[in-house]
């Protein structure tokens, strides 16, 4: 360990390299080590849509940012304090984000003429003045990794693939971290490939030892454990939390889960994760297309299971008619949309919140569907439970909105106990006496769930308009209007069964920030920044987007200005204006990236000055 150890409260590190350089695994290892050490962490993996874009090219750059701290943090951080750049392309794409005087670690032997050309550098940034203003540390990673792995019976290519772990070893040294978590992971993950374990361990230790041997850093840093509320924690990504939330819901409802999906980025992980948990009585069905996915889930719900389908924007478009059928048939169904940049194929691996209109409004006919949104990776667990609860209680499809940022991002998560989870009561209709397929529960307006196989309840449902109560096909004008209104009222009435919106900050005054989904961290981060300046906006973060909490309209009217930061062109603001006649203003960003806290803070300052 070096002589000088400085203690910091928070650090933002970004690993950047070619998509074949293993940046995601490196970032995940650094994250797990920090989380197990007790830091609060927040991550932002950012990778290209191409599995392997041409090596060394700008589109092929993959990044992983992690914010780790001894205090409570909400986001992966606005700008990195440290950038690890594995090649010129990674440097070029990421350098402008590095904070002034930040630490830059570059793989210096990846800056040959050809590498520079691929990245579009006319001269070598290591020797011209491009890197002035940063604390640059050049490390010949490839050479050093080869040396560390000398004597191993491996191809040159396999050896070079270990240089990410050499870099990781350097970072562990810089932040005084133990190698234990990563070494344990290597043992477990490559159980059947001892040579891979050995190679990566040598690289990892090599990087660490190298720092010590050459006194690479005059100062190293320490970030103490955070003061998180007591409990047992794990590091969790949004997609994992979502999958676990669905399993928890299945347990709470005592019903099997039927997940039908078609592979799509960034939702496939939910299918992968749940496919491993068949022992929970879980059907994971990879359908032939998005339409078959939603329709088979409807079929399973009709059969008394919890039908779920997970997808992303283009898949949502294809499922639209199926969702309409579920509205008409009044069957429980959960449709999960991991939003990504659109329209069309758009930006498959980048985040966006532009599918809110699609969720709330995007179907033919008057077709109300409740919409809920997760706000942090860990929150995905709770929102999954809520979506299933609403679907079953109100016999309705429910749309759950997540996004690419939540799906892949991670944070420490206090692990709940199964016994503390809310119950999800289910009652199948079995009583033949007085049964009518569309007779509604007076409180919830839900129709009975009468599952095929139940004697005496044989009945027909379908997409044609139903006669009230009997469910028979009916084309009468007055009946149609009655049914349209009943379906609408059923969903609107859900507002009476969800928590009221709660305000963080002043109960009235100058400015209210209304957010939804994954902007929560950035908004809270902005509010923390602004507190020092005496600027104190209020914040409401919405989980329920349709219907809105019943007190929302009244809250909005208590503030002079309502500001809505969204990763779209103002969809929530539009809905708030339409619904409550308030002057909601939009703070927009559509770059495939989450908000920085500073961007929201700047917008708040501008309003505050008015």
């Amino acid at each position: 360990m070096s002589a000088n150890v400085e203690t910091l409260e928070r650090v933002v590190v970004r690993f950047a390299g070619d998509s074949g350089d293993g940046m995601q695994v490196t970032g995940n290892q650094f994250t797990n080590t920090a989380a197990l050490f007790g830091n609060d962490v927040s991550t932002f993996p950012d990778y290209p849509a191409e599995i392997r874009a041409p090596a060394g090219s700008l589109p092929g750059v993959s990044g992983f940012q992690i914010n780790f701290a001894s205090l409570d943090i909400d986001t992966p951080g606005d700008e990195p304090d440290v950038l690890v750049a594995m090649n010129p392309a990674a440097l070029k794409v990421n350098l402008s984000d590095l904070r002034p005087n930040g630490i830059l670690i570059v793989s210096s032997d990846s800056f040959e003429e050809q590498d520079l050309k691929l990245a579009g550098y006319k001269s070598n940034p290591l020797t011209d003045h491009t890197l002035d203003g940063y604390r640059t540390i050049q490390v010949p990673l490839t050479t050093l990794t080869r040396r560390a792995l000398e004597g191993l019976d491996m191809s040159r290519k396999s050896i070079d693939r270990c240089k990410n772990f050499f870099a990781l070893g350097i970072m562990y040294y810089l932040y005084n971290r133990s190698l234990e978590t990563t070494e344990k992971w290597l043992q477990k993950y490559f159980e059947k490939k001892p040579e891979v374990i050995e190679a990566n361990r040598r690289a990892l230790r090599g990087g660490y030892a190298y720092c010590e041997a050459v006194h690479l850093f005059q100062t190293t840093y320490q970030v103490d454990p955070a003061q998180l509320p007591p409990g047992r924690y794990r590091n969790i990504s949004g997609n994992t939390a979502l999958a676990l939330g669905l399993l928890a819901a299945s347990r709470q409802a005592k019903l099997d889960l039927f997940l039908a999906s078609y592979p799509i980025t960034p939702a496939s992980d939910v299918l992968h994760t749940l496919s491993m948990y068949k022992r929970f009585g879980l059907f994971a069905f990879q359908a032939e297309d998005e339409i078959a996915a939603v329709c088979s889930a409807i079929g399973a719900s009709y059969g008394g299971k919890i039908g779920v389908t997970a997808t992303s924007g283009p898949g949502m478009a294809l499922k639209t008619e199926g969702m309409g059928l579920a509205v008409m048939a009044e069957l429980p169904l959960v449709i999960i949309n991991m939003q990504r940049g659109g329209p069309s194929t758009g930006l498959p691996t980048k985040t966006e919140q532009a599918d809110l209109f699609q969720a709330v409004l995007g179907r033919n006919g008057e077709s109300p569907i409740p919409v809920v949104a997760a706000s942090t990776p860990g929150d995905c667990f709770w929102v999954a439970l809520e979506a299933v609860r609403l679907a079953i209680r109100f016999m309705t499809p429910v749309i759950l909105l997540s996004d690419g940022y939540l799906a892949n991002g991670a944070e420490p998560w206090p692990i709940p106990k199964a016994k503390d989870l809310p119950p999800i009561p289910v009652s199948f209709r079995t009583d033949v006496e007085g049964f009518h397929p569309y007779q509604r529960d007076p409180e919830t307006l839900a129709r009975p769930w009468a599952v095929p196989g139940t004697p005496g309840l044989e009945h027909r449902i379908g997409g044609l308009e139903k006669q009230n109560v009997t469910g028979n096909v009916n084309y009468e004008p007055a009946n149609h209007e009655l049914m349209v209104r009943l379906r609408n009222e059923k969903v609107a009435n859900i507002a009476n069964f969800i928590p009221e919106a709660s305000v963080d900050g002043p109960a009235s005054g100058k400015l209210l920030i209304v957010g939804w989904g994954s902007t929560r961290g950035a908004i809270r981060g902005a509010i923390r920044q602004l507190a020092a300046e005496g600027i104190a906006p209020a914040h409401v973060h919405l989980r329920h987007l349709h219907p809105f909490p019943r007190n929302l309209g009244e809250i909005l009217k208590r503030y002079e200005t309502v500001l809505v930061p969204e990763l779209n062109l103002g969809q929530l603001a539009f809905l708030l204006r339409a619904r409550f006649l308030v002057n909601a203003r939009t703070l927009s960003k559509v770059q495939g990236k989450p908000f920085k806290s500073s961007e929201i803070a700047d917008a708040v300052r501008a309003v505050w000055k008015e």
Partner: protein, 337 residues
């Protein structure tokens, strides 16, 4: 929960209280009557039946059955039915579809259903026309057909549903005709008893938009000459006087005369052949050059998708014990604060 008396069911028990609204004279009536007549003989309680349909004239079928029924959306009945059958393997699930529904808008679901061999019964009412939308050509309309949407005649070849089903790996493939009630019932019974996807193409006359589409092969006076009935283990013989047969020649099937006691080596129909190539040859036979085969082209056993999915779950539970949520939530690296 009491179950329905199985033995006591009659055709009447399967008739719903809804007024049937197909055009008078439609072939769908006889198919409905045949299904209602066959179900009581299957030893399955009424509540275990579910009829799932898509969109089109034929897809109104579930409303007229006093069973569970789901009239879904265009082309998607196989997908909805697949979800239901996986969720409830104990049910007898029937898919009612038409040529447009199954082969045009629902083509993808149709082939994947057959590939997977989900234990569903699929009745495809083939009338070679779009009826409910009032007379456009369908994917089974013959080349050159003039319809509202093809005033100059269609171009492009139609699908042969039997060949398509065989190509997709169907384990049970049969053809019957709306106006042959006995044959229809027999084939429906066979389909119902098959374990796996049972695909039945039913030639069905649309007397409004495509009247007489099958007249040239089904009229009483000519039908014995225009058709050959596939009977397992029997030589392929046809003709009013049983005087012609089908032989497998070097370049495919050929019609030969067996008049005067001549009995060249006629092809003996084997529906259980694992290799579907001969069934495919039969599917290619076209009137008037050759007789049209009716009956069961193929009936083989293969594991069913719904059963295998349920077995995987049962195996996981048996091998690894039922899932424990607390254990799962605490999986991986955890730490205490």
């Amino acid at each position: 929960m009491a179950t329905t008396e199985i033995g006591g069911l009659t055709k009447k028990d399967f008739v719903s209280d809804q007024e049937v609204r197909w055009c008078p004279g439609c072939g769908d009536y006889s198919i409905l009557a045949a299904v209602q007549a066959v179900l009581p003989s299957l030893d399955i309680p009424r509540e275990k039946y579910a009829f799932i349909s898509g969109i089109g004239c034929s897809s109104r079928f579930p409303y007229y059955m006093n069973t569970y029924g789901f009239h879904t959306i265009h082309g998607r009945a196989p997908a909805v039915a697949t979800g239901l059958k996986i969720a409830r393997p104990e049910l007898s699930v029937w898919v009612i579809t038409g040529d447009g529904d199954a082969l045009s808008i629902g083509g993808n679901h149709f082939i994947h259903l057959l590939r997977r061999n989900v234990d569903l019964k699929v009745l495809l009412f083939n009338n070679r026309i779009y009826g409910l939308t009032k007379g456009q050509y369908s994917p089974t309309s013959e080349v050159g057909k003039k319809t509202k949407s093809s005033p100059d005649g269609t171009v492009g070849s139609p699908f042969n549903p039997i060949a398509l089903a065989l190509g997709a790996g169907a384990t049970f493939v049969a053809r019957t005709v709306d106006v042959y009630p006995q044959h229809l019932k027999e084939i429906l019974g066979r389909a119902a008893r098959h374990r796996g996807t049972a695909f039945v193409e039913i030639y069905q006359n649309c007397n409004i938009f495509n009247d007489g589409a099958f007249k040239s092969i089904t009229e009483k006076e000519i039908r014995n000459d225009a058709q050959v009935e596939l009977l397992h283990g029997k030589p392929l013989v046809f003709g009013k006087n049983k005087d012609r047969g089908i032989r497998l020649a070097d370049n495919g099937l050929e019609v030969v005369s067996i008049a005067g006691g001549d009995s060249p080596d006629l092809m003996v129909h084997d529906e259980s052949r694992d290799n579907p190539s001969l069934a495919f040859e039969l599917a290619q036979m076209e009137h008037p050059r050759q007789p049209i085969p009716i009956g069961v082209f193929r009936a083989v056993e293969r594991p069913t998708f719904d059963r295998e999915m349920n077995d995987q779950i049962a195996r996981q539970i048996a091998e690894r014990s039922p899932g424990d949520l607390d254990q799962l939530l605490n999986e991986g690296d955890v730490w205490d604060v």
